[in-house]
């Protein structure tokens, strides 16, 4: 680098060159002004706008989250309330159904008892009526038998025997 030292001396590595300083300043200022107008303005405003947009989006998202959480909580409450309501309704329905069932069965039993009693009484009546009819029939038959006996032979003993046997027959038949 010995040689380069000499060259440094000739070409002035560190010596000021006002022309170059002037040109640097002019170029830089012009670039700065133009870029400020065409680039930095739009870019920075866009970036700031986006920053604000993102911030507001985040804020909105937080708000929405809070809101949805509140709604969820409310929904849960409503749901639990509805559950309790439904339970109550079901329980009441069951109780009512039970009551209704017992009522209906009780009534039906009563009814059937009544019907059985009515049936029994009507059977009794029928029996009495049948007995009456039978009695009349027997009396008629007795009269007819008597007539035959009287017609055939008016033997006292014979008559008695006939009547007795008839009565015997009747009584056995009746029973």
């Amino acid at each position: 680098m010995l040689t380069s030292g000499v060259i440094l001396l000739q070409a002035n590595l560190l010596s000021p060159n006002p022309g170059l300083i002037f040109w640097t300043a002019v170029t830089f200022v012009i670039v700065l002004l133009i870029l400020k107008k065409i680039a930095w303005g739009p870019i920075i405003s866009a970036l700031e706008e986006r920053e604000k947009g993102i911030q507001s989006s985040i804020d909105r998202a937080h708000q929405a989250k809070d809101e949805s959480e509140a709604i969820l909580r409310k929904n849960r409450e409503l749901l639990s309330k509805a559950d309790a309501e439904a339970d109550k309704i079901i329980r009441e329905g069951k109780e009512y159904a039970e009551k209704l069932r017992s009522d209906i069965t009780g009534k039906a039993q009563e009814e059937s008892k009544k019907m059985i009693a009515a049936a029994l009484s009507s059977i009794e009546q029928e029996k009495h009526r049948a007995l009456d009819v039978l009695r009349n029939e027997v009396a008629d038959l007795a009269v007819m038998g008597a007539e035959k006996i009287i017609k055939n032979a008016l033997d006292a003993d014979m008559q008695r025997k006939i009547v007795d046997s008839m009565l015997q027959d009747l009584s056995t038949k009746r029973n």
């Binding site: 010995l2 030292g5 440094l8 001396l9 590595l13 560190l14």
Partner: protein
């Protein structure tokens, strides 16, 4: 010619000494920064910024030394 030779010698030695100083200083900074980053990884970016600034300042001093050496070599 002897005087010029001595000037060159001085310039070379001075440049070397400036580099030694700057190397030690920046090495210390880097070591401390690495240690700090290891201790507190969450402060990495802050430590890096501080490290670069400090290193640049030390480097600036070293460069002053180098410039003086160059001037010496030019005489």
């Amino acid at each position: 010619m002897e005087g010029l030779g001595l000037a060159y010698l001085g310039a070379g030695l001075g440049a070397g000494l400036a580099v030694i100083g700057a190397g030690l200083g920046i090495g210390n900074i880097a070591a401390s920064a690495a240690e700090g980053t290891a201790r507190q990884p969450e402060a990495t970016s802050d430590i890096r910024t501080t490290m670069i600034i400090a290193a640049a300042l030390i480097e600036g001093v070293a460069l002053f030394g180098e410039v003086i050496c160059v001037l010496l070599a030019l005489k």
